[in-house]
């Protein structure tokens, strides 16, 4: 697959071990031409941020399936800023809160935390890639 020149860090945050989606996301992003850095499951905020600094990444795609993202993501944007990643795109998707909640509210909560895009349960990575290409000026 031709590289599109953009680098994306992916991974699953917190104590979350849901590995299947993560493997699929790596597969799809790669075949779409992204340079993918996968920090894998059970990753800390620092793991994402360090990988992004090292690879000069354009975006971080956080997955969280198990429901603790609200706890696990506290202060993520601030840490990015401190690390100098002031312009990096932050996306999050999966099953990011505990239980079935009104998604508009959930989205707002995560946007306040500094995420650029927030995805509802079961939204497939293909959707995210469309937005990513837009946000990165690839289309």
């Amino acid at each position: 697959m031709n590289s599109n020149g953009k680098t994306v860090v992916i991974g699953v945050i917190g104590a979350d071990v849901h590995a299947v989606g993560n493997k699929i996301i790596e597969h799809v992003l790669t075949s779409e031409g992204f340079n993918v850095v996968n920090v894998g499951v059970m990753s800390r905020q620092e793991d994402f941020i360090n990988a992004a600094i090292e690879t000069n990444a354009d975006a971080i795609l956080v997955s969280s399936l198990y429901g603790h993202a609200e706890l696990d993501c506290q202060g993520f944007r601030e840490k990015c800023n401190e690390a100098g990643l002031t312009n990096i795109l932050l996306y999050i998707g999966g099953n990011i809160v505990v239980g079935k909640q009104d998604f508009a509210e959930v989205e707002e909560r995560f946007k306040k935390m500094g995420f650029n895009r927030v995805y509802a349960p079961g939204v497939r990575i293909e959707e995210g890639i469309k937005d990513l290409k837009k946000d990165l000026g690839l289309v």
Binding site: A15, V17, V20, L71, V97, V98, G99, K100, P121
Partner: protein
């Protein structure tokens, strides 16, 4: 201490125990083992998990059990009572949150606080270690049904101390099944040792007159695990538990989706578990079975989710398992509300009742699939014993290193990740890439043949694309992930 498959001596056990109880302040509460046992003896027999399962097996009854756990004690009690009454659950779980599973008890503190502050559970389960034994007893005393801890904890030693001291009479997990699908860097020798401790602890209660049920986690990653691989793991964990003195074991299996394969897998699992146990001299173990409704990605639509739940229940009923772990119509979205949870239970119960007096009858096809699964499982287990030089515990560690045991899509870095599964054209899960799984040439040929058949029908190569399509299939409303241009 070297890893070996031998019953822990009381000395060894107590030495480890010293350390375990120090890992979090609530450990102190359960220091007096005899007092714990006295308390457990006082729990009414009708709330004993092991005895309830034994009776169900005898009566050929299929029991229902939900998953459920929230951050705070009273909320948990309310939830479980509701599931017992409205959901007609036969057995109750306490699902433990993910921080506790990783022994991150500090995170739990924050989760508990935030849950109190926001008035909703911020944790995906009940942090039992943080709440401690008195809270755990309150939970148990507030309920009229047997209670089990359900989690996914590589090192569940402290948790196990607390739950058994609280009169919870069943513990899910095992050194493989609660490590490889549930963690990233825990070495297998460590998790096996830690589960030997949990097993030994259960056996101590058993020896003191309190039957304790132990349940290896059958479905593993819940994602296209070939039946022989999960059966091999379940049998291994049953043997490891039996060596420590466990007498009540429930071996589990997660629905793959082809009804005949699923029924064959459960029957094979039950029979081979009993065979292997008796082969190694563990004669007085009572083996029961658990069937997990579809454990992979679920359909978002609730009516479709009900379809998936009920379809799984039919398989459970026809296979006459001892219990079913029930999914809910919210599965694809998040932890279910209590209503959605009860609905999953009621839907399941309805199907089980409708089929209570029916079963599967043997057909040529069923016999064939049972034979395949048993032979595959034997191939794997023989090799595990071989590379362990007869020691099962060592054999397991070595087997994961070599990819003899290999669980698809597992997060653990100790897993080889070399096999690749896919469905055949009838939806049965087969090995697409064998990695180092030591199947006989004949069995390999069978797997290949079944997948080639699908390739021909779908006019495409047999490769990873099939696996990916299969992963999404059920959440998109099919069993087999056909290519988009597929028309029969």
């Amino acid at each position: 201490m070297e890893l070996t498959n031998k019953k822990l001596s009381m000395d060894e056990f107590l030495k480890i125990r010293e350390e375990v109880l120090k890992t979090w302040p609530t450990g102190e509460q359960v220091r007096d083992l005899e007092a714990n046992i006295r308390y457990a003896l006082s729990v009414p027999k009708n709330k004993n998990f092991a005895l309830r399962l034994k009776k169900a097996k005898h009566d050929q009854q299929v029991l229902t059990q939900p998953r459920a756990g929230v951050a705070l004690v009273q909320d948990l009690i309310d939830l479980l009572r509701y599931l017992a009454e409205e959901g007609e659950a036969d057995l109750l779980p306490v699902t433990i949150d993910s921080y506790t599973r990783q022994n991150r008890y500090e995170n739990c503190e924050l989760g508990i606080e935030e849950s109190r502050r926001l008035g909703r559970s911020m944790l995906n389960g009940f942090p039992v270690v943080n709440h401690g034994v008195y809270a755990a007893r309150l939970v148990q005393e507030s309920l009229d049904l047997p209670v089990q801890a359900r989690h996914g904890t590589p090192d569940a030693r402290l948790m196990s101390e607390i739950i058994h001291a609280a009169g919870w009479t069943s513990n899910e997990g095992g050194g493989i099944s609660y490590n490889v699908p549930y963690s990233k860097d825990v070495p297998l020798d460590k998790s096996i040792k830690d589960w030997q401790y949990c097993d030994r602890l259960a056996a101590i209660y058993e020896e003191n007159g309190i039957p304790i049920n132990r349940e290896p986690f059958g479905p593993l990653t819940g994602t296209l695990v070939p039946p022989s691989m999960s059966n091999a793991v379940a049998i291994i964990e049953a043997l490891l538990a039996a060596e420590q003195g466990v007498k009540h074991i429930t071996v589990g299996y997660g629905q793959c989706g082809n009804q005949i394969q699923d029924i064959a897998a459960i029957k094979a699992l039950e029979q081979q578990t009993e065979e292997y146990l008796s082969k190694f001299g563990y004669d007085d173990v009572i083996v029961t079975t658990v069937f997990h409704q579809w454990m992979g990605g679920f359909p978002k639509d609730e009516a479709k989710a009900y379809g998936a739940i009920a379809n799984a229940s039919v398989t459970a009923a026809l296979a006459k398992v001892t219990k079913v772990i029930v999914k809910t119509p919210h599965e694809a979205i998040g932890i279910p509300t209590k209503e959605a949870n009860a609905n999953g239970l009621k839907c399941t119960k309805m199907v089980l009742n409708l089929l209570a007096d029916q079963k599967t009858y043997m057909s040529k096809k069923l016999k064939e699939q049972m034979t395949i699964i048993k032979e595959e499982t034997d191939c794997i287990l023989n090799k595990v014993f071989e590379v362990g030089n007869g020691d099962l515990a060592i054999g397991v560690v070595e087997s994961f290193k070599r990819g003899i045991l290999d669980i698809p899509f597992a997060p653990s870095r100790y897993n080889a990740n070399k096999i690749l599964p896919a469905r055949d054209t009838y939806g049965a899960v087969r090995y697409l890439e064998f990695g180092n799984v030591p199947l006989s040439e004949e069995l390999k040929a069978y797997n290949r043949y079944m997948l080639e058949k699908r390739g021909i029908i779908e006019k495409r190569p047999v490769d990873f694309r099939m696996t990916v399509d299969d992963i999404f299939a059920i959440s998109e409303g099919r069993l087999v992930g056909r290519p988009s241009n597929f028309r029969k």
